[in-house]
Symmetry: C2
Subunit: 195 residues, 2 copies
DNA sequence: GCCTTTCTATAATTCTTGCTACATAAATGC
DNA sequence: GCATTTATGTAGCAAGAATTATAGAAAGGC
């Protein structure tokens, strides 16, 4: 049966996607509620009734980002059999995401709230996501080593930190308007660490 | 002869240095005028009389940053004879700057105003500084190649983009609380691109 | 000594921005 | 039909932040 009161005139999921675009393009702070409601096609009261607050909306939008856009590089990392190819595929997916972002915004997880206070909840969530990325890369490298694709004495944890940093750098470059060849040059340079 | 009216009770240069610390630690937007005046030990009217506006003050503080802190990596880059050692010295200087920054803020030029609108004057100045860094690295690599320290077919412009991106990544990592060993691992990984 | 000039201190003022009150509309359940 | 529930739209509130008005203080010039 349908819910009790007057039904929504807008689609919540679609509005969330619009909100993600705005957050991604402008960042959390620069995206103001007026921008969001305009893109979502709703008014402030509907906004707050459906999403609680700007911060809560960002959490939801970020969930959506991770499960769709962000998941691509993780999939590339885990689903590619050869470890070098896997790292390359992850970096290529990151570059694609950065280039496909609205107004060259780079990765939302990489750059989100970078200039906010350290104790900001959302900032800490971004940082925690970045740490998780280091972990994922480390695990993948360890798997590659155990399969004999890397030398036994490879510094996998150092390499994990390095490749995570390259993902961040790709986003920063994209924000500065770098094009695909420039990002590819960065990836190519980074791949030498595995030779 | 001394200037006409009542003399300042504070030292302008010293106040500027304090302001730089605050901007560096918190970023342009998060550093509010109250934080700045508190650190500078002055009141808002003195602040505005001496520095025009928060934005003008940031310009001055950034000048100071470039000519002191930022200059260290450029000096390291230019003053080291061997090109590989020069790149390594530049990265090490960047890591030092990032680690020495107040509250692990990373490089001011690398991360400043990253989440601000693209048309913000200060943001564009940061971006322009980052582009200049790519240029400097490129020139240094070209010099090294002409001196026979790099293979004749080395992709110096691609490598320049890559190493500039590593500088950015070091700052982002430092903001997330990375310690020296982690930054050194990133540098070590990056150095493989020159082998 | 007094005028002019420039700085200092307290206390607003103005502008932005996230958020909400209020009145109204559209659905369900009895 | 009427009460209940939930959504919409207009208009505005409240808090925060950059900036300034006003009065008074400290120097030089005559």
């Amino acid at each position: 049966m349908p819910p009790r009161g007057r039904p929504r005139k807008f689609d919540r999921d679609q509005a969330l996607q619009q909100a993600l675009q705005i957050f991604w393009e402008k960042g959390f702070e620069a995206a103001q509620v007026g921008d969001l409601t305009a893109a979502m096609g709703i008014n402030p009261p509907s906004f707050y009734a459906a999403f609680k607050s700007k911060e809560a909306l960002f959490h939801e939008a970020f969930d959506l980002y991770l499960s769709t856009i962000g998941a691509r590089s993780i999939t590339a990392l885990d689903a590619t059999p050869d470890v070098r190819a896997a790292i390359h595929a992850m970096l290529a997916a990151s570059a694609d995401n950065a280039l496909g972002a609205p107004r060259a915004a780079g990765c939302l997880a990489a750059l989100g709230l970078v200039n906010s206070p350290h104790d900001h909840v959302l900032r800490q969530r971004m940082a925690s996501e970045r740490r998780a990325m280091i972990q994922r890369i480390h695990i993948r490298l360890e798997k590659g080593r155990s399969e004999g694709q890397l030398p036994p004495d490879a510094d996998t944890s150092g390499l994990a930190v390095f490749y995570a940093s390259v993902v961040l750098a790709l986003s920063l470059q994209a924000q500065d308007g770098a094009d695909r060849p420039e990002l590819m040059a960065t990836i190519q340079g980074a791949m030498h660490a595995l030779n």
